[in-house]
Structure formats: C-alpha cells, structure tokens
Amino acid sequence: MKTQTSVRLTIIIIAAAAGLIFMMARDGSDNAETVKVKKTPTITASATKTAGLFQPPLEQDMPKNEFGKTIKMGEDIFTNTALYARQYIGPTNLNCRSCHLDAGRLAHSAPLWAAYVGYPAFRSKNKHVNTFSERLQGCFKYSMNGKAPPLGDPVLVALESYSYWLASGAPIDPKIPGRGYPAVPEPPLPRDFERGRLVYEQHCSLCHGDNGAGQLDANGQPNFPALWGAKSFNWGAGMASLKNASGFIKANMPLGLGGSLSDQQAWDVATFMNSHERPQDPRFNGSVAATRAKYHNSPNDLYGTTVNGQLLGSGAVAPQTRQKGTR
C-alpha cells in the first residue's frame, strides 16, 4: 500500500514538474489556434426574410402578473414538452418547438402568433369548425403521438395563453404572412426516394442520425427530433404531408442553413423521410387502404402507398393510446 501511495505521489510530482517546465516554455500568449486553414465558402442562407412580417413581443416584455405566469408555463410546455406535458405525449422525442422554431415565434415555421389569429376555422381534416384549443389538441394527438388534453385543461390553457400573448398586436387574419410553412414550387424532376436519401446523408443525418431516430443530449433529454420510427410523429400529423415537410425543410433545414437546399432537394428529402414507417394514424379503421382512402387520399401523402416493397402504414407502430401508461 505504502509503495502504491508513493507511486501515486511520484506520478503527481513528475506531472507537476513537467507542468512547470511546460508552462515556463510557453510564450505567454493564449492558446488560440494560429493556423492557416483554407477558407471554405460560407453558405448564405436566405432564411432571414423577416422584413415586413409580424414581430411577436420580446421575452422580457412578458407580463409579470398572474396571467404572465400562465403565459410562461405555456412557453415552458412548448420548449420542454416532455417535462411539462408528459401526461399527454406519446413515446416521442419531439418537443413543440421541434417543428415550430424559435419557441413558436419564427415566421415560415408555423408560428403560434399566426395560428392564433387564424382560428376558429373550418378544417377539411375533420370537416367542422375548430377552435384554437381544438387545433392544439390535434398537435398532441398526431404530432406528439399522444392524447388530446381535455378542453380547459391547464396545458391547453397555458399554450393558448402563450399563443395569444405572442399574437399581441397582430390582426385577425387567417392569411397573415409567415403562417404555416411556405409552399415549395413543384420540382423540375419527379420526387425521388434515392435522391432524397443522398440529400439526407449529406445534410440531415449529422443531427437526425443514420436511422432517422434523432438524438438525446448527454443528460438524456430529447434534442434532435426523430424523423421516422416509433419516436416520431404519427401518420396523422401535418408533417406526414410532403407539402408541409418540404416547406418546413426548405425554409428551415439544416438548422441555421435554411434556404440552402434547392426545391428539388427539399421535395426529394421530404419524400425520403416520409417513405419510412412511423406510428399508426390514430384514426386507423382496420385497413390501410380504407384509411388511406378516407384520410390520406392525396399525392402529397405516402400513407397506404408502396415504397421499396413496403406498404406504408402496414408496419406502423400500434396506435399510441393502446400502449400508454408507461411514461
């Protein structure tokens, strides 16, 4: 034991001595990297077209009263959904802000302020007039692959309060500029899975992973969202539509490089993403074909189509409501 202690001591002494020598040898400058590295061309993203668009209030202007607390709760739910609304989300690693960037503020990333001033509205998705609260319920049911909080639930009240506050000063206008995701023009070539795969490998897999499963941070918190598979949005979500997905991707992806992909690349990679299995549509009626006919009958929707021999929707993860209770 004594020898071991001595060994350790020796190591420390040697290390310290080496350190001293090393420190003395340094020229006193800081440790900045002083090198010539070939400058790579900087990509100029066209993502920052905010001129003329509605500007939501700043974080620091949030009211400091009882109402402000509920607004803040709404923001917390929005940015850390797994922590603050755990009871209503499925086995997903998505947060609200995964698709609504800048905590629901960013134009062309389905900002909350624009949605707020667009309801009540008739939706072809469910063929009736939806209030804003009901629209929020849809996010939980489909995008978060969970279950809808009941109307009046504190989660919905907080999210609605946050959205209302973000919309302060915006006109009631279902066509307010910046709403939803921009429409990407039809590409010159037909949308293609294989080209999409290449786009994915070059521009997307760094963050979302080779298998589209996303990544957790070192603390196990959801970080990069899953784009397909069991932890992603289900087949009923808006992002399962190629129109929405290509719009979101073109405007915002890769993060910080929005606008850098071509229209063709955006459609191709959206096609690649949505050609993978994901959790079943909660409206599934027992038959993929019948479910497609009723809810997915669009060229922008790959549910119920066959891609690479796989009938999309047939291998879908069982409806989330059946496996609830573990979270």
Partner: protein, 219 residues
C-alpha cells in the same frame, strides 16, 4: 521524507515508464504522457482534465469520446491545427488517441438536470437558449443540448468549458483559422456573432455547472 524516498521515487519512475509503454492506457497517458514524446494531458488540461480555465486550455472531462477522438485525429492529420496540440496528437498512436479520448469521456461530468426553464436575462443566456432568429441564428443549445450538455460525438458539451477557450474557438471560426467543421455550421454561426456576443455566450457556458468528476473512476 523517509531516507529511502529517492529509491522509491526512482523505482516508481521506472515502473511507471514500463507501465505506460506496455499499455495504451488512457489514464496513464493523461497522467504521464505516452513515453514517446507526448506529455501528460494533465500538464495543461489540469487534473482531472478540468482545464485551468484562465489560460484557455479546454476542459476535457466528460466530453464525448467520439468528439475527443475526432479532434485528436484532426490535430494529427492537420485538419485542425494548433501549435501545441498538432505535434502532441501526431506523437500519439491511433490506439492511444482512442484510449485517451475514452479516458476523459469516462470521467463523467454529466450536467445538472434541467429543472425549470430559466428566465433569459443576459445576452449570453439569450443567445445560448433562444438564438437570434432575426439573423437566422439558432440557439447554441439547439445542437449542443439543454444546458450545453453536449449531443453525441459531433456536438461537444459547452457547460463548464473555459470561456477563453470558447472565445478563441469562435474567433478562430470567424477568422477562418479553424476549419468550418460539419456542414460549415460553426463558421457560419460565428460570422453572425459580434465581439460582445462572443464574450457573453462564452461566459454564460463557462458558468454552467458540471458534476465534479472523480479521479478514481476508470474507463
């Protein structure tokens, strides 16, 4: 000091040398160097890899093994250049780079769990958590994880990192003296930061808590 201390020192020095050269042991390299010219990592990065923050040597503890290994390889092959690290990384064998990366990664240092969303008061905190989307600038935590915990082998932990080191890296990207990295993200991001932004965001991340790693823990 006992009379036979010099002898003990000599013997242990010999033992250490034998030990170090016999195995590509990350801990041994960190403590003593590799016996082939690479000095002990602790000499500059502090023991155990906490990095004496004031002089700009980065904290290594708890960074992902994949990230550390990538950086060592980049130093060795010239993709990333630094007057001190380039020759050191070149002296380490590939296996030694793997081992030493694994060692520092295995020291732990995972970040404090996130309880409540903080109220953004400082410029650094705003950039870190919200970004500045009017400029198309995403938040740092979007890729580096909540509280800068780090994500996978590509996005290193920022919490507890030396603020001078972070400042130096952001400036190196701005000036093109550090290669832009994956997708060119960091050089683009740095190009959107002012000097005040850089100081603020570096100070913010360096102030974030990390778990104190244990020297006893081996990979």
């Amino acid at each position: 000091m006992s009379p036979n201390m010099p002898l003990i020192l000599l013997v242990s020095l010999l033992l250490t040398t034998v030990f170090t050269s016999a195995f590509a042991d990350g801990a041994a390299i960190a403590l003593n160097g590799n016996g082939q010219g690479a000095p002990a990592c602790f000499t500059c990065h502090g023991a155990p890899g906490e990095g004496p923050p004031a002089n700009g040597f980065p904290r290594l503890t708890g960074l992902s093994a994949g990230y550390l290994q990538t950086q060592l390889n980049a130093f060795a092959n010239g993709q990333r250049q630094n007057a001190m690290m380039t020759p050191i990384a070149q002296t380490l064998s590939e296996k030694e780079r793997v081992e030493v990366a694994r060692y520092f990664s295995g020291l732990g240092g995972s970040r404090a769990a996130v309880e409540a969303a903080p109220v953004m008061t400082s410029l650094g905190e705003q950039l870190a958590i919200q970004g500045r989307w009017s400029q198309g600038l995403p938040s740092c935590t979007h890729c580096h994880g909540t509280m800068g915990a780090g994500v996978g082998p590509v996005f290193p932990a920022l919490a507890g990192q030396s603020s001078l080191y972070l400042e130096n890296q952001l400036r190196a990207w701005q000036q093109g003296t550090r290669a832009p990295g994956p997708l060119g993200l960091m050089s683009l991001i740095a190009s959107k930061l002012s000097d005040a932004d850089i100081k603020a965001v570096a100070a913010y991340f360096s102030s974030l808590p990390t778990k104190t790693p244990s020297l006893k823990k081996t990979p």
